[in-house]
Symmetry: C2
Subunit: 311 residues, 2 copies
């Protein structure tokens, strides 16, 4: 068990939830979910993490203990009277298309992210998918972070474009999926869409493509990150959050943000995301060891480096 | 101008056609198309090629001359009284989903592929998408080729499963897209689908994923080949054939079929395929230079090798 340090390397702000997930084969109720939960378990494999979020009194104490056991500082976790954010979704046969059957914000509707004062100097920050207004509120509370990444979704692109644009102008990396980047940029091809976002001041855009991997647009460079080919995908929920969490955790561990660091971190992200979709619920990641994550990262590397290695 | 050698390095057997292609933005009529045409122009960038196919008397002599100019031996090209194979297709807004509006086999309905006797010892063979019965007929005419690859389509998977299975048992590599491999294997995930095909005796399965690249399953190894990110896709027709043609041409140029040769050849395939979709018609590839193809292959390599190169 790692002890939370005074100042974690990575701060993660986002949702913490109960999820009910239906796939063509299974239905699982009241899983531990939420973007911050997936991302924190993933990031904690590589670095010390502080989670900032809100839960209701119904949230299990043993999950909070599990986060702590995995090296996640929970001083930024607020417990409020009421119920935890609840989401019920259903996946189609392709295991990508999904429908939200029910969303109950509950205590999350009052989320006002307050970082513990010790977090103000945290060098790595992940603003998971929450209202851009709240993401901006977090950015006001950190001093000269080394690397900030943000996630978003179609809802905010449609309803909070102005605030989202302010977020984009202030972070280093934005992570989006293909339909989101098209919606956000008005362009159909990824290259043009990414170029348009980079022109708004972003340094990097990470486009998540599910089982087809991810593409990182970074200035004039484009990097391709493979997805680990799985025999079975059980629950795609949280894959993007696990990717992002492992990415920023691995980046913090490297302590550098050069192109090769970003690429190596993205391979870690892809590795951990592949484990995330092999089981239901964010707490599945708590069973993952760093050695397993690294081993699969090495396998991913071997998928794009079949050449004899020169030393 | 290269002079066709006695025995080309690569034999390509497939369709030669006129295509009318509609995209959301454009409609172009009577383009030069066909799997063998795309593949031959692509392969000829790297090796000497012999094309085996059939056209009607309406097929332009200047395209035959263009093939020859590009180093394609046309002794296996039969000209018959009647009209050339005609296809009319329409692409949806995603530029992937397509509908065949009209298919006229014309002289292609009598296609009985006969290899010039000099081709019997050709080391590299690509059986483009034609009836499996005809692919088997070609296999009867070659002696101990070093590497044979075959393409197929949903129609043959549904209607000629037995003959297709015989093809699969006799070739080294099968190239398919995602829906085809699912249909062919009855499995939903690519890993399981590929494993099932490899168990039938194939050495390699190449899964084409359009703008998401390609995955090569080779024994226990899996390789990921990125697609070149394009600003604009004008006509996706022939992308897979151009990929396959450049792949086998580059493989023949290397003269080896180790894993790193296959990977390098696949990068060449991805490079040339990206040029193919940037213009309408197979003859667009005749304007492509080998230097351009190699330059883009290097760019593809840099997308997956951002690390400092050790020498």
């Amino acid at each position: 068990m790692r002890v939370a340090s005074e100042k974690p390397d990575v701060v993660i702000v986002g949702s913490i939830a109960f999820d009910t997930v239906e796939t063509p084969r299974e239905k699982r109720e009241n899983l531990i979910g939420g973007s911050a939960t997936y991302a924190s378990f993933a990031a904690a494999l590589f670095s010390s993490v502080g989670i900032v979020g809100i839960v209701g009194e119904d949230f299990p104490q043993d999950i909070i203990s599990l986060l702590q056991t995995r090296g996640v500082d929970t001083r930024g976790l607020v417990v409020r009277p009421g119920k935890t954010f609840f989401w019920h979704g259903k996946y189609e046969a392709d295991m990508e298309t999904r429908t939200s059957l029910r969303t109950e914000l509950n205590v999350f509707s009052d989320f006002d992210p307050r970082l513990p004062p010790e977090y103000a100097d945290c060098p790595y920050v992940f603003l998971a998918n929450i209202e851009p207004r709240l993401q901006l509120c977090v950015l006001e509370q950190v001093r000269e972070p080394r690397f900030v990444m943000a996630d978003t979704m179609d809802l905010w692109i449609r309803t909070a474009a102005h605030e989202l644009d302010s977020v984009i102008r202030r972070v280093d990396l934005l992570t989006v999926n293909e339909s989101e980047i098209r919606l956000l940029s008005g362009e159909t091809t990824l290259v043009r869409a990414a170029r348009r976002l980079l022109a708004r001041g972003l340094k990097h855009v990470l486009v998540k493509k599910g089982e087809s991997g991810a593409v990182l647009f970074s200035g004039e460079r484009t990097l391709f990150i493979p997805a680990y080919p799985l025999e079975e995908v059980r629950d795609p929920t949280g894959a993007g959050d696990a990717f992002a969490g492992a990415f920023i955790g691995a980046l913090a561990e490297r302590g550098c943000t050069n192109l090769e660091d970003l690429f190596a971190a993205a391979l870690s992200g892809s590795s951990v995301a592949s484990f995330a979709v092999e089981s239901f619920g964010a707490d599945g990641l708590a069973r993952l060891t760093k050695a397993q994550a690294i081993s699969r990262r090495e396998q991913l590397l071997s998928m794009i480096h079949p050449f004899p290695v020169k030393d």
